[in-house]
């Protein structure tokens, strides 16, 4: 217990101010899941804005035909870096690393995860991988120019710093794997007495499915990246046609990981939405079992569709057909979630709080993203749309409109719990307008540009695409403004926000039954669970 002359801004005995090691060491040596979550949050915020800045610069380049602010080679490095940072260092760790780490033990009534030291190790791996990736920018022959997909044979032959960059991604993979191992074990072993699987909230269900994907497919990208390094240094030949290798096998191995990886990205965001909607509609979730089962189904079926990234690469017709069919199937469990969230709203006591606003936006943007994905799954359409801006628009709708806005919604929902402070609702809602307008101006325009034939990863564009590029770039400015406003809302709240109560939203899951911010050990006594997770007594609502 700390004592001081001035009252601390947060509760004494909370995880923010426990006894023991003080200062920076107290944070970077801590095995407390809540502190580790904050460590991840700080890193991810910095990296997100770095990646977003690169995106803004890319859009500036496309503002005029020809070179605007950079050379072609620089542009190649820019989109590679933008992808590597956003995917490996923001979206994949994303919600699991921040909200999973902070909330999973609390939501299941535990004091920490099963392997707290392994948890800290996963953050160390993350930092190491990030440092290596930054190093790849400044050493050797410059940053990689292959795109984040590192396709062979170009990635084998290009002189740029591919080896260091893929080694960084390899190290980052360990962070993901360790998180998955920890969460799976935690959910199996540390649920509170009485919390059967069917009494467990939906965010842990999502994290469970995500954990299995992390464990079962991340090692495939690990070996693929290792092989790229072996190819570059020793010429083993696995992707080199001159030695009998097949570049298409690189694509297969790459996408066997990278497609399920997008479900690592989206499932936790969907899990957060499944917590936010019932809480702010003060109504139990519709179809709890179906939402839980759909998380598992997405993980399973999503691991079978990878070659839909390769329809035009030269696969057999049989493979094209089968993967197209499987791709249509994987949309079904996602749709089930969307229907169930919407049904949850019906006859609910809806509070249009910032979390609810952003959660509803998630549903809208993710639906556009998902539907455009199904379009791409159709072989005839794919021939025209592959490697165009349509694809770029699609994945930004799901990864940014989906996971990104899901991250924002989760932050708005759980910020009071994590920090013990409340942000300005007006500021949060005000941020929404430039975010929403900018996002759609930027990415819907890309869908149109793609259908018109604008190729992706092109430094320059033909005159017929010029108007679209200008509109998109203006959209990126609105988007950037909205991001800064939202970040500012949170940062100001950290220093000047009002003290938040334990339960600002009237929620019924376990995190709202403990103080804001939580004490180190989460619960004074571990609760015994006897009811399903989303039971709202009308008297308690609001």
């Amino acid at each position: 217990m700390t004592t001081s002359a001035h009252p601390p801004p947060h509760a004494e005995g909370s995880y923010l101010d426990p006894g023991g090691r003080k200062g920076l060491l107290g944070w970077i040596l801590s095995t407390d899941h809540k502190r580790i979550a904050i460590l991840y949050l700080v890193c991810l915020t910095v990296l997100f804005f770095a990646g977003a800045t690169i995106g803004v610069l890319m859009r500036l380049e496309q503002l005029t035909p020809g070179s605007t602010i950079m050379k072609a080679q620089t542009y190649n490095a820019m989109f590679t870096l933008h992808g590597v940072i956003m995917i490996f260092m923001f979206v994949i760790p994303g919600l699991p690393a921040v909200f999973g780490n902070f909330l999973l033990p609390i939501l299941i009534g535990a004091r920490d995860v099963s392997f707290p030291r392994l948890n800290l190790a996963s953050w160390y791996f993350f930092v190491a991988g990030t440092i290596l990736a930054v190093m790849s920018l400044f050493t050797g022959s410059g940053p990689p120019d292959t795109g984040w997909t590192f396709y062979a044979p170009f990635s084998i032959r290009t002189g740029t710093n591919v080896s260091l960059a893929v080694f960084a991604a390899f190290i980052l993979g360990f962070s993901s794997i360790l998180t998955g191992i920890n969460f799976i074990t935690t959910i199996h072993r540390l649920r509170a007495p009485g919390m059967t699987w069917l009494r467990m909230p939906l965010f842990p269900w999502a994290l469970y499915a995500t954990g299995w994907i992390q464990v079962l497919v991340t090692p495939i990208i690990a070996i693929t990246l290792l092989l790229v390094i072996l190819e570059r240094f020793f010429g083993v030949g696995v992707f080199d046609p001159a030695k009998g290798g097949d570049p298409l096998l690189y694509q297969h191995l790459f996408w066997i990981y990278s497609h399920p990886a997008v479900y690592i990205m989206i499932l936790p965001a969907m899990g957060a939405i499944s917590e936010i909607i019932p809480t702010h509609a003060h109504r139990t979730i519709f179809g709890y079992k179906f939402i839980a089962a759909s998380s598992i189904a997405i993980a399973a079926v999503g691991s079978l569709v990878w070659a839909h990234h390769m329809f035009t690469s030269g696969m057999s017709e049989a493979a094209n057909t089968i993967f197209s069919l499987l791709t249509f199937l994987v949309a079904i469990p996602s749709a089930i979630k969307v229907f169930n969230w919407t049904a949850t709203l019906y006859k609910g006591s809806i509070d249009l709080t910032p979390p609810m606003l952003y959660a509803l936006t998630f549903i809208f943007l993710f639906s556009i993203g998902g539907l455009t994905g199904v379009m791409q799954g159709a072989l005839a359409l794919n021939v025209h749309l592959h490697d165009t801006y349509f694809i770029v628009g699609h994945f930004h709708y799901v990864m940014f409109g989906g996971t990104g806005f899901g991250f924002f919604a989760a932050m708005l929902h759980w910020f009071p719990k994590i920090t013990g402070r409340m942000y300005s609702r007006k500021a949060a809602v005000a941020s929404w307008f430039p975010l929403f307008v900018g996002f759609n101006l930027l990415y819907f325009t890309m869908l149109v540009l793609g259908m018109m034939g604008m190729p992706r990863r092109y430094f320059d564009h033909l005159p017929q695409y010029h108007t679209g590029h200008v509109v998109a770039t203006v959209g990126s400015w609105f988007l950037a403004a909205g991001l800064l406003m939202l970040a500012g809302t949170f940062i100001i709240a950290l220093f000047r926000g009002e003290k938040a109560p334990a339960n600002p939203w009237g929620g019924v899951t376990l995190e709202w039954q403990i103080p804001s911010p939580p004490p180190v050990e989460n619960f004074e006594t571990i609760p015994t669970i006897t009811r399903p997770p989303y039971e709202f007594n009308p008297v308690e609502a609001g």
Binding site: H188, W212, L216, I220, L248, H252, I256, S303, L304, A307, G314, M315, S316, E317, A318, A319, I322, F323
Partner: protein
């Protein structure tokens, strides 16, 4: 405590499995080196998983583990099999 941690496996069980594994290895080498491809490839494809299975079942005591761990092992191996299977849908028909 012992009941919670599973039975203590006697040495002779492990030694017995080891002897079977050595014998299977002998079979493997003989069929690989002496038989014609038509016979040796099926032999390799049966004996090898059998050896691996013995190690999983006895040395890694899956025999005494509950359905949870066994299901997890099955899911992992099945995932690998499915990956290879779907991959061959491409490369077999090119």
């Amino acid at each position: 405590m012992e009941a919670e941690r599973g039975p203590v496996i006697e040495d002779r069980t492990f030694v017995g499995v080891w002897i079977v594994l050595l014998f299977l290895t002998l079979l493997l080498v003989v069929s690989g080196k002496l038989f014609h491809e038509a016979l040796s490839v099926p032999a390799l494809l049966t004996i090898t998983p059998l050896k691996a299975g013995l190690v999983f079942y006895y040395f890694m005591h899956l025999k005494h583990e509950g359905p949870l761990l066994r299901t997890m092992v099955f899911v992992t191996l099945a995932t690998l099999v499915v990956f290879i299977g779907l991959l061959f849908v491409d490369i077999s028909y090119r």
